[in-house]
């Protein structure tokens, strides 16, 4: 059994983004997704700091200090892109105008609660950024996350231990081991990496899973 790399998780999530979607990519792992969009699809990426139509990272001669994404990395703008102020950027988020937000997380609960803003580490002041706005506002929330912590503790839990970002909002989770849907009937494993049994997956998952009848091997390019 070979877990997916971070880039493979991003690749897998990218395959589910349909042509023409308006998408916000959270900071960290979700940002990698932009690199793996199938070439025949035109996706409009949104950034909290007032951009629609984010393009790839700039070449050395394209760098513009006034053009960054929400992760504060330099970006470019595609033809058809637009700039607007922060208030309109969050109107888009909160008002359900984004089709998909791909987010990182510390934990996701059985009900689709997400905790991704603070671990209450006393060494750092807390920061929330746009995490709560995105989790509440986008039409569909999908999470990209390592299945367990470095210590092997499950991140997919009955209830989140860390402070919540938002409740009952996550619809799908991409991990290095599986693709899991959050449904009204609980969590359903749709795809498992090859060589992993459902029992093994459940053993590293605190939330109760069921295996989809039509489950598939989790493939990654």
């Amino acid at each position: 059994m070979k877990p997916l790399s971070r880039r493979q998780i991003a690749w897998r999530a990218a395959q589910d983004i349909t042509d023409g979607a308006y998408v916000n990519l959270g900071i960290g792992l979700p940002t990698l997704v932009a690199d793996f969009i199938p070439r025949d699809r035109e996706i409009v990426f949104h950034s909290e700091n007032g951009i629609l139509g984010l393009g790839p990272a700039p070449g050395p001669n394209e760098l513009d200090p006034d053009l960054i994404n929400a992760g504060k990395a330099p970006v470019t703008l595609l033809p058809g892109g637009s700039f607007f102020h922060h208030n309109d950027a969050f109107l888009m988020i909160r008002g359900g105008h984004l089709d998909i937000a791909l987010l990182g997380a510390f934990e996701v609960s059985e009900d689709g609660d997400i905790a991704n803003w603070t671990t209450e580490d006393p060494d750092f002041p807390p920061g929330v950024g746009g995490a709560m706005d995105l989790a509440v506002g986008a039409k569909e929330i999908r999470v990209l996350v390592e299945h367990t912590t470095r210590d092997g503790k499950p991140r997919i839990r009955k209830q989140c231990g860390y402070p919540l970002t938002a409740t009952r909002c996550v619809k799908r989770i991409y991990t290095n081991l599986a693709v899991i849907d959050v449904t009204p009937n609980g969590m359903v494993a749709r795809e498992l990496v090859e060589g992993l049994t459902f029992e093994e997956l459940q053993n590293v998952t605190e939330a109760k899973l069921t295996l989809a009848d039509d489950w598939q091997p989790l493939k990654a390019a």
Binding site: Y22, G80, S82, F84, R94, L98
Partner: protein
């Protein structure tokens, strides 16, 4: 590939259901989506709730819809116009319901829906007949009326230019209610004078970003 342009008025209006709430852009006769409204008459949807600053002029456009008995209710700030015969007749014969809302409050209620908020408190109309039946709350000693979001099933919008992603620009005071209405409906349908190539609209000067637009028809 994203291409929001449609080939016909019929395709633009396809699927609008009876009972829909339809936001209609424009102020007076400026920036009104006349051809879309005429086509809505053709399309046949009835029992409509129309949100529009005014209530139609003469016999075409919104006045045509009202005259044909297709509008159950209108939410507007100023139903009078130079030639308000269609609305006046319907109103006097009790065939149309009028919800009169201050102009800024209509606009703000649509923005509230667009922004995914549950409501807001405004001093406007507090202590007047237009606050009748609304919750009033003292904030810092000043009475405020609780206003609720106003969302459209459909918005009919008139813009000047568009690209295939749905980015729009308007001309001068023809902008008026169009941008807020485009944001506040599930389905935003836009008539434009001209399609331009992607990238031709200055990204610093897009008036309505394409995310708010679903269908575009060139008139």
């Amino acid at each position: 590939m994203i291409n929001k342009q449609v080939a016909s008025l019929a395709a633009a209006l396809n699927g609008i259901k009876d009972g829909s709430t339809v936001l209609c852009g424009g102020f007076g006769a400026v920036g009104t989506p006349d051809e879309l409204m005429d086509a809505l008459l053709e399309q046949g949807a009835k029992d409509l709730v129309i949100v529009s600053n005014n209530a139609g002029v003469g016999a075409k456009g919104l006045a045509g819809l009202i005259g044909a008995g297709r509008v159950r209710k209108i939410i507007c700030s100023y139903p009078r116009s130079d030639d308000p015969r269609a609305f006046d007749t319907a109103y006097k014969t009790g065939k149309i319901e009028l919800e009169l809302v201050p102009q800024g409050t209509i606009s703000e209620r649509m923005r509230c829906a667009a922004a995914g908020l549950g409501g807001f408190y405004s001093r406007v109309s507090a202590g007047t007949k237009l606050a009748a039946g609304k919750e009033v709350r003292d904030i810092d000693g000043v009475p405020h009326v609780l206003e609720r979001p106003l969302k459209g099933d459909v918005a009919l919008i008139r813009a000047h230019r568009a690209d295939r992603w749905g980015n729009l620009t308007y001309r001068k005071s023809a902008r008026n209610f169009n941008p807020v209405m485009a944001m506040a409906a599930d389905l935003s349908i836009v008539q434009v004078a001209e399609m331009v190539e992607l990238g031709e609209i200055d990204p610093e000067a897009v008036h309505t970003p394409g995310i708010f637009v679903d269908r575009i028809i060139v008139i």
